[in-house]
């Protein structure tokens, strides 16, 4: 017989303390992660924000974003006043005060001026590699999702693509160096001495020479594209599969060809998904150091990539500065002091803001497109 009295609790239930302990432990670990993130962001924002922002209007120090990167000169003048000047301003100072003696001079490479070069280089690398990765990635995803029949071979291909995503980025860097920098074929009339193989093509003196693209923007873009390709393929394939089969069936049943079906009934509806996941891939491309350090990036460059070129295509074979590599150089190659902090924390802060903006953009875009595209 049911006795309602048994439902009434007497004292603390069995296992109460265990329950509380487990809950506190799990909660504590979760908040620990939040604390770590807060400390990391807090440190960068506290030290980096003053570089970019200032108290008076227009509140943003555009000079740091728009000036070229230079060596920083620190010295005392005869009156004992301490100066911190980037190389160009330092030279002006010397010209203006000809014959003046300066004391305690120290120089810090890459720490003066702004970071326009690295920002521009990162933008070019990101755009170039995303264009390449999207073209190859979406093509491969369409093939895998729409054309390929399920077979052990296709299964193996998928597995290979997934494995590619797990390869450390430094390996991609070395791969890019040995393939894109040293080995890919180019058409030239003056093959390099280290060319692996030359094949005459009988148009003038031109030959196909397997000598690579040198360390250049295009070698860097190709390397970064290889690195991000598995992510793009996987994300694109998922977006393509998310399009209801009914659309394909309806289109085919109306006498559309397979390619028409893909172009009009599958791709348009999966493109928002592909693009939003690709925006997340952008943050990874923009942030990687290892793939570009042997293939595209230089620590110092006086000109912007498009300056001093004979034709616009030469930009592809020019080396660039890049934000992550710049940060690496500042952190690893320059002795840290009160004078280098501005460049170091400023660069990291700007980089963080850029990445945060991209992530935020992708989240907003995703929310908007999801609201618009429903079936």
């Amino acid at each position: 017989m049911f006795n309602p009295e048994t439902l009434i609790r007497k004292g603390l239930p069995k296992g109460h303390f265990k329950d509380v302990a487990v809950r506190s432990l799990l909660g504590g670990l979760t908040y620990l992660v939040v604390i770590i993130a807060a400390l990391l962001f807090g440190k960068i924002i506290i030290d980096g924000a003053p570089v970019l922002f200032k108290a008076e209007a227009p509140f943003v120090d555009f000079n740091f974003l728009t000036a070229k990167n230079e060596t920083l000169h620190v010295f005392d003048d005869a009156t004992g006043k301490r100066h911190q000047l980037p190389a160009s301003a330092y030279n002006d100072y010397l010209l203006k005060h000809e014959g003046a003696t300066i004391y305690n001079e120290q120089t810090y490479s890459y720490s003066g001026g702004g970071i326009l070069g690295p920002i521009v280089g990162t933008a070019l690398l990101t755009i170039g590699s995303m264009v390449l990765a999207l073209f190859f990635g979406i093509s491969a995803a369409i093939y895998l999702s729409e054309y390929a029949k399920q077979s052990p071979f296709i299964h193996a291909v998928r597995l290979a693509i997934l494995n590619l995503a797990g390869i450390p980025s430094i390996v991609f860097g070395l791969f890019g160096f040995s393939v894109f920098v040293l080995a890919v074929p180019i058409i030239t009339v003056t093959p390099s001495d280290r060319s692996l193989l030359t094949i005459p093509i009988f148009i003038g003196n031109a030959v196909i020479s397997f000598q690579g693209w040198n360390s250049s923007l295009m070698a860097g873009c190709a390397t970064l594209a290889c690195m991000i390709l598995p992510v793009i393929i996987t994300a694109s394939e998922e977006s393509l599969r998310a399009v209801p089969q009914g659309f394909r069936d309806a289109s085919l049943a109306m006498g559309a060809t397979r390619w028409q079906t893909i172009r009009k009934c599958v791709l348009p509806f999966s493109l928002p998904g592909i693009l939003t996941s690709s925006l997340l891939a952008i943050t990874r491309v923009a942030g990687e150091t290892a793939p570009i350090m042997f293939t595209a990036a230089v620590a110092a460059k006086d000109d912007l990539p498009w300056q001093g070129l004979k034709n616009p295509f030469e930009i592809l074979s020019s080396q660039v500065q890049a934000l992550p590599y710049h940060i690496y150089t500042l952190a690893a190659k320059i002795p840290s002091s009160e004078y280098t902090q501005r460049a170091q924390y400023g660069s990291v802060f700007v980089f963080l803001v850029l990445v945060a903006m991209l992530s935020l953009g992708s989240m907003i875009l995703r929310a908007k497109l999801r609201a618009k595209l429903k079936w």
């Binding site: 309806a250 289109s251 559309a256 060809t257």
Partner: protein, 265 residues
């Protein structure tokens, strides 16, 4: 020797009957249809009935080769002839075949585009660029599907804003916009309420002079209302095929009678 399927089928006087001959069909190693022989007459409505999994939808999808999309599915023996042409012959262009043999699916599947674009889709894929022709075809198809009066003021709005019944009629309009000879319908009313169902049935009745209809249905009343002929399938076999009036009043076999009267299935 067939020239192209398109040429022979677009002739108005051409026989658009569908003949299924000794058809065996299997998914991988499991047979789905066994030795089906069936003559579907032109410009009539033929209903396929039978319990779930009896192969009626499979046979329907064989008629416009939609089963080609399923990797393991294949015909193991026999074939299907439309207007005397073997549609599984290697010389048949499956794209052209599907323009002549349209299909309406169980789940209404309008594209998330405007009503107008949904109906214009088939014509556009065939390369029709002339806006006047497309406009006219859209209106005619929507009228034929008894949808024109309900949507004529909002052709540019999303098709997803329509009710379930309207969406299914839009799918029918979209299918007949490319002027097929044969229209296959796979349980077109299974998700519709009785009023929307009545509208779809009425439209099948109105259109049957111009099209050969094959309709798969689980609804016995529907089969008896709309069809001229009925085929009863069970376990991948064609059990009985005759005039609908005859089958529903005086079925030849006990099993057919049991199914129709709801005693099993």
């Amino acid at each position: 020797m067939p020239e192209t399927l398109n040429q022979s089928l677009t002739r108005q006087d051409e026989d658009t009957s569908v003949a299924v001959k000794n058809l065996d069909f299997s998914y991988g190693s499991s047979p789905a249809l066994k030795d089906i022989n069936l003559e579907i007459p032109a410009n009539e409505v033929t209903a396929f009935i039978g319990p779930s999994g009896c192969g009626k939808s499979t046979l329907l999808r064989c008629i416009n080769r939609m089963n080609d999309e399923i990797p393991v599915a294949r015909i193991t023996r026999g074939g299907i002839h439309i207007g005397g042409i073997d549609i599984y012959d290697s010389s048949v262009d499956v794209v052209k075949l599907r323009r002549e043999v349209g299909m309406v699916f169980q789940k209404s599947n309008p594209f998330p585009r405007s009503i107008y674009e949904n109906v214009a889709y088939g014509l556009r894929t065939q390369g029709q660029r002339n806006k006047a022709i497309i406009d006219q075809a859209v209106e005619e198809s929507l009228r034929a599907a008894a949808l024109w009066d309900e949507v004529k003021d909002r052709l540019q709005e999303s098709a997803l804003g329509l009710s379930g019944g309207q969406q299914q009629r839009l799918c029918i309009a979209r299918t007949i916009a490319v002027k097929p000879r044969v229209v296959l319908m796979d349980e077109p009313c299974s998700a519709l309420d009785p009023i929307a169902t009545a509208k779809v049935e009425e439209l099948i009745w109105d259109l049957k002079n111009d099209y050969t209809f094959v309709i798969v249905t689980h609804n016995m009343q529907q089969a008896s209302r709309v069809s001229d002929k009925t085929a009863f399938f069970y376990m991948g076999e064609l059990i009985e095929f005759s005039e609908t009036s005859k089958m529903f009043t005086n079925p030849r076999l006990k099993r057919t009678e049991d199914y129709i009267s709801g005693r099993f299935g």
